[in-house]
Symmetry: C2
Subunit: 339 residues, 2 copies
């Protein structure tokens, strides 16, 4: 179509446990015709996110699975190359579910026009996009933090956790971040302004976490699961709230995970706790505009900072994804496609 | 004091796992002097409840432990024998935390005058008391059932579960009860009017439960834990709610319980579920009056039925308690003390 050489990355094999590079395949593909009233899009930045791991499994309860040979799912910042859609014009910048591909056609479903286009535009995939809104809706709607309370978040240097902690500070809370390694902990403490940062790789991690939360944990924003949950469990205060938006520590475990269900249930009961699984999408209608206002304001006055981890080239997407799953990124992982 | 021969049952030994009769000791005791402005009470009916098992453990996160040699905790319907308290007069009938004892003195803390005295008075320890209010507040406030939804409750023949199911019917829901053995299942289905009753002792229990919930489970009122939880877990609908008020299946397990925490967390996440531990006391101020109105009305018009399991004599309390833990009671367990 019009001399466009479209390329994409498809799921070549289903991983059992940790995915590997040969679970993916880069291939050229022929764009389907633009549907009547539709658009042709060129992806500029792809968002790489932990939830994508769950979609690689055959029976993904977490939205739909990616079929074998199908394009990996994902959001992108894209440019409208051609439009027959009344709401979009050539040259517009949009958020679009293009998947891991250089181009896509669309009937407009799932598109959102970026107007104004934020600076940098990539913020719309991170701090002002789905990860930021996941942080905002989980913390503010479910966590409902009160001044003086302690908020703990894991993956604190990542695009969700970093916003959770900085919003907690804005709400007058003590923000405690958990991160992997001294570099990330330094970033969480010094750049992001958390009150404490605890390295989950430390052999005495649980003791350090307890020491960082002398008043216990009122809100734990859960996005990892596994051993971190075990360390937080004894620290919960009465009426503690746990917004649960991800379990990255579990995504690559094929077998039965280690963890005592009875103990978790006992603590939820005796502490009158609330554990609430959520997807950010359920809160968009009621809270997205307020989120954009609050977080844009926080960025403008320096109370919300963020980092991006940008790699160039579609071919690098699988490697960037695997690095993220291993926790080797610092900041929001993006693939730049201006080639 | 005045020739009263007061007797009580104390915790003689801490059980490890299932309690036994020799963990308790019946003994006479000398009543302390009535505090200034206080009362002397004679217990008429003692309430025997599952939560008492947790208080027998040394480190009970669930309110306070009973000390070795101390009177077992518990509520009673009591008669005021003497009063210097301005709110109570001789002959009044009160609810009081007398513990497992024939008499008690009180400064008025935790007392509630029964005015009018319900008929039968024992309802104030069951369907119109703490168990009934646990059912009401958990189901209506946390579960928030909508007409046409499916509500599942375990221990469905017991004083909490029976009210949960009958309130669910009043709310226009499908009520599915889980109970142990054909007699209890018949009672749940025929006398209490649940839509289905499933015997958790059946070898194909999980399949039967699934068949009884063709539209999935929207609200699961959790009061047992253990294998029942595992059977309900695959049936939850999107946005399911789980009020959690007890874990009787776990109370007597000393070791690590069987159960996959990762699977529970995965379901809570992917189904956007709410799991909320609660004690009825947190809802008393806002909801107790409305509870009394609704449930009294349900009793009056026959939509709420209940049974009592009454044993005579303080000395029988330990055996009645053990029978209840083994699920051998049918209805609210009470000890009658009019000796």
């Amino acid at each position: 179509m019009n001399g466009i050489t479209a390329r994409r990355i498809v799921l070549a094999a289903r991983p059992s446990g940790w995915p590997a590079l040969d679970d993916f395949r880069l291939e050229p593909f022929t764009l389907p015709p633009i549907p009547a009233g539709g658009l042709l899009l060129r992806a500029r930045y792809l968002s790489i996110d932990p939830y994508m791991r769950m979609r690689m499994d055959e029976h993904s309860a977490y939205a739909g699975s990616v079929g074998l040979g199908e394009t990996m799912h994902g959001q992108a910042v894209a440019e409208v190359l051609r439009s027959e859609h009344p709401d979009y014009a050539e040259g517009d910048t949009v958020l679009a579910p293009t998947g891991w591909a250089t181009h896509a056609v669309s009937d407009g479903t799932g598109l959102r026009k970026l107007d104004p286009v934020p600076e940098p535009v990539t913020a719309s995939l991170g701090v002002l996009g789905m990860p930021g809104f996941t942080a905002y809706s989980g913390l503010m709607v479910i966590g409902a933090p009160k001044p003086g309370e302690t908020v703990v978040v894991a993956s604190a240097s990542g695009p969700v956790g970093s916003v959770v902690g900085q919003l907690a500070k804005m709400a007058g809370c003590r923000a405690v971040g958990i991160a992997g390694g001294p570099e990330k902990c330094r970033y969480v403490l010094e750049d992001l302004g958390f009150d404490a940062a605890v390295d989950h790789r430390a052999p005495d991690f649980a003791e350090r976490l307890a020491a960082a939360c002398p008043g216990g944990v009122d809100v734990y924003f859960e996005n990892v699961g596994g051993p971190v949950w075990q360390a937080v469990l004894p620290l919960f205060t009465k009426f503690a709230r746990v917004p649960l938006c991800g379990l990255i520590a579990q995504y690559n475990e094929s077998g039965r995970a280690d963890g005592d269900l009875a103990e978790t249930m006992r603590v939820v009961l005796t502490k009158n706790m609330t554990l609430r699984g959520f997807f950010n999408s359920e809160f968009v209608e009621e809270h997205f505009a307020e989120f954009l206002r609050v977080v844009s304001g926080g960025i403008a006055d320096g109370r919300i900072r963020y980092r991006e981890d940008v790699t160039e080239g579609l071919a690098q997407a699988p490697e960037a994804f695997l690095r993220m799953l291993r926790g080797q990124n610092l900041g929001k992982v993006l693939i730049k496609l201006d080639e």
